[in-house]
């Protein structure tokens, strides 16, 4: 019996056990640390400062730059602030219009391109391409297309003997344009999710429906739609989240104009926080409202994701 060998073996086992214990923490540490410092901490801070009157720059050594506790005043102000109410209403309307349109449009695209046919790869690629470029680029492209005097869209209308349309000049039309472009920009991405969903529906079900003499429409209604429900729900939730986050597209397409007609929540928050004095706390209160909306939508997403994973 070699006692030295036994001791060395025991030490090696202990070292390995210790390594096994520490390793997972070391592995997750960088991600966890970054998320705590740059997501959790700002979140807590944001809620904290929503109860203060403060500017965006804080320095407790300088009286003018020191936050003042104001209780729920910022939240009470929300209700009386037409600019906030309007931006919230606009964002809600934007979501209510674009979400069903996005779902319907991307579903149509998915049905059109789920089968293999000559050129299907190219067609899917073309449809997906807007998701490959930034929303700034999308906005620039459509601003160029929707120009009043020299835009291609008004030229096509002219060919059809229709008068030119002041797309980005009239407030209501600008809102419609932002909605339409938002749907255009994300439809290809959601199409891919829905094609993946369609491919999980067993082909036998379609054969059975066919043998039973079901028409295309009734097959769609009784086979495709119910079985596609999980994927469709994901599309609805993700596009609602996108709708409430809308900002970048507007930056390029309309700049929030004409007037304030296309200013949505995020832009309003940014402008209040960075353009108005002592209003960062108030902007933080507006962010809390957005947070609650996104929280509900994301909770729905995680639940659906869990369902889809099972």
């Amino acid at each position: 019996m070699d006692i030295g060998l036994e001791v060395r073996r025991a030490t090696a086992r202990a070292t390995r056990a210790w390594r096994q214990t520490v390793t997972p923490y070391v592995l997750v540490a960088p991600t966890l640390l970054l998320l705590l410092v740059f997501v959790a901490w700002p979140l807590v801070q944001g809620i904290y400062y929503s109860f203060f009157q403060t500017g965006i720059i804080i320095d407790r050594n300088i009286p003018e730059l020191t936050p003042h506790y104001v209780g729920a005043a910022n939240y009470l102000q929300l209700v009386r602030d037409p600019q906030f109410i309007q931006s919230l209403a606009r964002t809600t309307a934007f979501s209510v219009v674009t979400v069903p349109l996005t779902a319907a449009f991307s579903l149509s695209l998915a049905l059109l391109m789920k089968q293999r046919f000559w050129g299907v790869g190219l067609m899917r690629a073309i449809t997906y391409w807007p998701s490959m470029v930034s929303l700034i680029v999308v906005g620039i492209a459509w601003k160029w297309l929707l120009g009043y005097n020299s835009g291609l869209v008004n030229y096509v209308l002219n060919l059809l003997k229709l008068p030119p349309v002041p797309w980005l000049i009239n407030g209501h039309l600008a809102q419609l344009a932002v909605m339409a472009v938002a749907v255009w920009a994300q439809a290809g991405f959601f199409m891919v999710i829905l094609i993946a969903g369609l491919q999980t529906i067993p082909a036998e079900l379609y054969e059975v429906a066919h043998i039973d003499g079901a028409r295309a429409w009734s097959t769609f209604w009784h086979v495709t739609l119910p079985l596609l429900r999980p994927s469709l729900l994901i599309v609805v939730v993700l596009s609602s989240i996108n709708a409430f986050k809308i900002y970048e597209l507007v930056v390029a397409l309309t700049g929030g104009g004409p007037g304030l007609d296309t200013v949505f929540l995020v832009q309003n928050i940014y402008q209040v926080a960075f353009r108005q004095p002592q209003a960062a706390g108030y902007a933080a209160a507006q962010s809390t409202v957005l947070l609650v909306v996104l929280l509900l939508l994301t909770a729905a997403q995680l639940r659906l994701g869990g369902e889809a994973a099972e």
Binding site: L27, V28, P42, I126, W129, S134, S150, K245, A252, A309
Partner: protein, 270 residues
């Protein structure tokens, strides 16, 4: 027969709706400035010229923006991939006190996009000296719940027997990660790399919040600034827009299957 014709009709319309907006930017950017606003517009320009590109490259700091964007996208993607692989491995193959809470905490940050924390994020970055600093758009957004989730799901599918065999052979944990886990997870790593790079290249909100000096602008920041001016210099802007899309086109052509075959979703659902 009529159904098939209808189908092809739809496909043609769809193709036009998705191709023309992008193609029109490219076509217009190749026209001389004098003809760019000509009426009626021409789908095939009379003169094809790179004049607008020369102007755009000469007058602005286009090269600088391109370089900044490349530095940010590449380094941030590298960080994201490394820390997502390690975290995904840790959460997939180890049981340890707190593992569920840590996983839920990471996934919970999905609920807090930058849009919600603009004000406190600015304050936090300011206190770290990261405002107006490229590091401020590289490091803070590098940890992503989706990246961790993708890697965790994929690594969970790797057989434990393989890892145990390597441990019995005396491989240390780092060796195990580099020699066994990483090579077997390459498809997921590739998908994460591509998606992360595309996201960082196209991101506007982080640079918008963090960067103010023009010599630190990214492409998206520059494009947004030029399109936001009262009198837009369309010839240059369209040329810059086209150039900013080129790297994405290369990525897309090279890795198309990752995008249009829903690979990332199969990863998430797997």
């Amino acid at each position: 027969m009529s159904l098939r014709l209808g189908r092809y009709g739809c496909l043609v319309v769809v193709a036009l709706v998705f191709v023309i907006p992008v193609l029109w930017v490219v076509i217009s950017s190749l026209e001389p400035p004098s003809e760019i606003f000509s009426y009626p517009p021409r789908l095939i320009p009379n003169h094809v010229t790179l004049q607008n590109y020369a102007t755009a490259l000469a007058q602005g700091n286009f090269g600088v923006y391109f370089l900044n964007t490349t530095v940010v996208s590449v380094s941030a993607t590298a960080i994201t991939v490394v820390i997502s692989v390690t975290a995904g491995y840790g959460l997939a193959k180890f049981r340890f006190p707190g593992d569920t809470i840590i996983f839920l905490l990471i996934m919970g940050t999905l609920m807090v996009p930058l849009q919600v924390v603009l004000v406190p994020m600015f304050m936090t970055l300011k206190s770290f000296g990261l405002i107006n600093n490229l590091l401020g758009i590289i490091v803070p957004p590098a940890a992503t719940p989706t990246g961790v989730f993708l890697m965790r799901q994929y690594i969970r599918g790797l057989p434990n027997a393989l890892l145990d065999a390597a441990r019995v052979d005396g491989a240390g944990e780092i060796n195990l990660l580099l020699r066994v886990v990483v090579p077997l997870s390459l498809p997921a790593i590739a998908a994460l790399t591509i998606f992360s790079f595309v996201w960082r290249w196209n991101d506007f909100l982080w640079p918008f919040l963090v960067i103010s000096d023009q010599d630190k602008w990214t492409l998206q920041l520059a494009l947004a600034n030029y399109v936001g001016q009262y009198s837009i210099n369309w010839p240059s802007l369209l040329a810059m827009t086209t150039l900013s899309m080129l790297p994405m086109l290369v990525v897309f052509l090279a890795f198309q299957r990752y995008f249009v075959q829903g690979f990332i979703f199969s990863g998430i659902k797997g």
